[in-house]
Symmetry: C2
Subunit: 385 residues, 2 copies
């Protein structure tokens, strides 16, 4: 009998109680407030974006209650979750407050994970919850404060990485001021989960009311793509070749644009001269979640990762013609508790669609699929204790 | 012996002499000006975007001289080009001037094509140049002026479509005020070539100098994706199901985001209720140029087109497991005279890369590839006279 194959969710969010309380205390976005529905029911609503349509989204205990996370996992056969604070993290806080809160939330998340149930396989024991910590990436923060928190995260045994948005300390992730932070993260072996929040300027969406569709479906992936591209262009991967960055939503649109990016760089000798490799090489530096809702999308993303090494400067190896190489850097995720189903009893489509997508990728072997469902996460986050 | 297979370039631009003269006469962007290089050589520079880096791009007769277009075609074995005015078209002009100039430029382009050399196959005669006309899509233009120009284009025998940007008459392409225009275009059987110009707000690109790379590599496809998505969300394809829209740069990032788009719509019942089909169905309404610089990109785009009909409301047909269906809506293009080579003698990489990409798509038959290189264009633009 083969060993049980784990299903590991690496894109799953929480607002820890301390953070939820902060949101409740605020009068400007981001905030959470309790309203009364026309039917007289008390309801919490979350506003995390400026100009949020329809008075914010209804939220409930699935956002902060660990039992709800475990129930969701049980309902969908998810063995292990690597949990991260949802956007907008600490972006809106002054530096000293962000610093203190990052430290406290990292300790909270460590306790959240450390006291979670254990699973026992025939080979090793594993917790059901692990976490991505938080850095106080806000303007005016000191490098030493950032390095202190990287150090903290690296010593908390159930935190295996950190989640960050795209603004860095105010100038984006291609800011040289972050180099000591990348160096420390690389050295500590922490995985950076790069996640969008701001989208792009809302004027692009026009005047029609399409709810959250445009900022979520397009703005989020555009933001991730832009941040990842700026990382590439800034030479971060040339300076920190062992950095491990996991991109949300299957890399946004970076896989689809990587050859166009390479072509544009190729036609600009000044930009090209600053990089060691063709842009497509750097795609192979990323890890991608498998939150793309379709098998063709996942297969294509794995193509782009698979071919990356053929674009190393001076590479003589042919382009890899199978998708296995790329699949090994892709990892199942759900985006829970966002995208809830329209009725409480249903399984979440965001889960079932993403699992079906993995199952239906042409050219992925059963082993590749098991990798994306969980084995890659076990390896990347070193979960086999 | 099999018949000669045509190579047809459907993404190739021109600034007709009348338009180039207008750009020369202007003192604000867009404009063209003659400068002297440090070596004492006189050089034309084109500025089409605000805040354009490096004083604009050098331009020469390949932008306005028909002989240069034909020489480029001969050099690369391109039999036929379907030429379009490059961005920003007439977007910057007051309505009356845009109206007059559209009419004049359409007549100019008709003459440019009608007096071009002919090719004779064993079956039919064909010109080497055809064109996309221009509409005066600017604020304050009247519907009757737009309809008059649609009518003009439809009567000019060598114009087979029209090119447009993403702003419509100021409120984007999801503006109901354009419904009579879509109706007229649909009725006339003209192909709409939807092309970006504005990108997204430049604040997203940060402070570092990466030349044109970010606005061209990312901003352009983001803009196209947003415009095409807003078209879908507005129900244009439900109201005008025979509309034929060709998206620049292989649809930008729309193929990569279509399942995410479908998921976001699915989780918003109000938006979903306004559409007849799953978002992925509408992907099959588009034609895509094959300007994506990589075989994996083209193969994926064809996957997304191939599967579209399986997402029709109530569809029972299985997802198409081959890429042929999608390939039939994809068409070779070069983006000439943009992306010139770094030396004058070279073949243009933008041509050779896109041809190699077509050649290397896994799952495309020789017939599919011949379709993308030219046969699909012959059919779409009805070029077999």
């Amino acid at each position: 009998m083969s060993a049980h194959k784990f299903l590991v969710d690496i894109h799953t969010h929480v607002y820890l109680p301390r953070y939820a309380n902060l949101l409740r205390s605020r009068s400007s976005v981001p905030l959470m407030r309790t309203t009364t529905t026309p039917a007289g029911v008390s309801e919490d609503r979350l506003l995390i974006l400026d100009h949020e349509p329809s008075g914010g989204r209804p939220v409930g205990p699935q956002y902060w209650d660990r039992e709800e996370k475990l129930k969701f996992m049980d309902k969908h056969g998810i063995d292990v979750s690597v949990v991260s604070t949802a956007n907008p993290w600490l972006d809106f806080l002054p530096a000293s407050e962000a610093h203190t809160l990052a430290s406290e939330l990292n300790n909270d998340l460590e306790a959240y994970c450390a006291t979670s149930p254990s699973l026992t396989s025939n080979q090793y024991e594993i917790k059901r919850l692990y976490g991505f910590g938080l850095l106080p990436l806000v303007p005016k923060i000191t490098t030493s404060a950032l390095l202190e928190i990287v150090q903290q995260i690296s010593t908390l045994p159930h935190l295996r990485g950190l989640i960050m948005g795209t603004r860095g300390i105010g100038n984006g992730l291609d800011d040289e001021a972050l180099d000591p932070v990348w160096a420390a993260i690389e050295k500590a072996g922490l995985v950076v989960f790069l996640h969008p929040h701001y989208g792009v300027d809302g004027k692009a969406w026009g005047d029609k009311d399409y709810g959250h569709v445009l900022p979520l479906a397009l703005g989020f992936p555009f933001e991730t793509t832009t941040a990842a591209t700026r990382l590439i262009l800034s030479g971060v991967f040339d300076r920190f070749p062992s950095l491990r960055i996991l991109l949300a939503h299957s890399g946004g649109t970076l896989p689809a644009l990587s050859s166009r990016l390479a072509s544009c760089i190729d036609h600009d000798p000044v930009v090209a001269s600053k990089l060691k490799h063709d842009a497509r090489y750097y795609l192979g530096k990323f890890y991608l979640d498998a939150v793309a809702y379709g098998p063709e999308e996942l297969g294509f993303a794995s193509d782009v990762l698979s071919r990356a090494n053929a674009y190393a400067s001076g590479a003589t190896e042919p382009r890899v013609a199978n998708r296995t190489v790329g699949s090994q850097r892709m990892l199942f995720g759900t985006d829970h508790p966002f995208f809830p189903p329209l009725s409480a009893t249903e399984k979440w489509k965001s889960v079932t669609e993403n699992l079906e997508a993995i199952d239906n990728v042409q050219g992925w072997t059963e082993e590749d699929k098991a990798g994306v469902r969980g084995d890659n996460a076990l390896r990347l986050f070193n979960l086999k204790e």
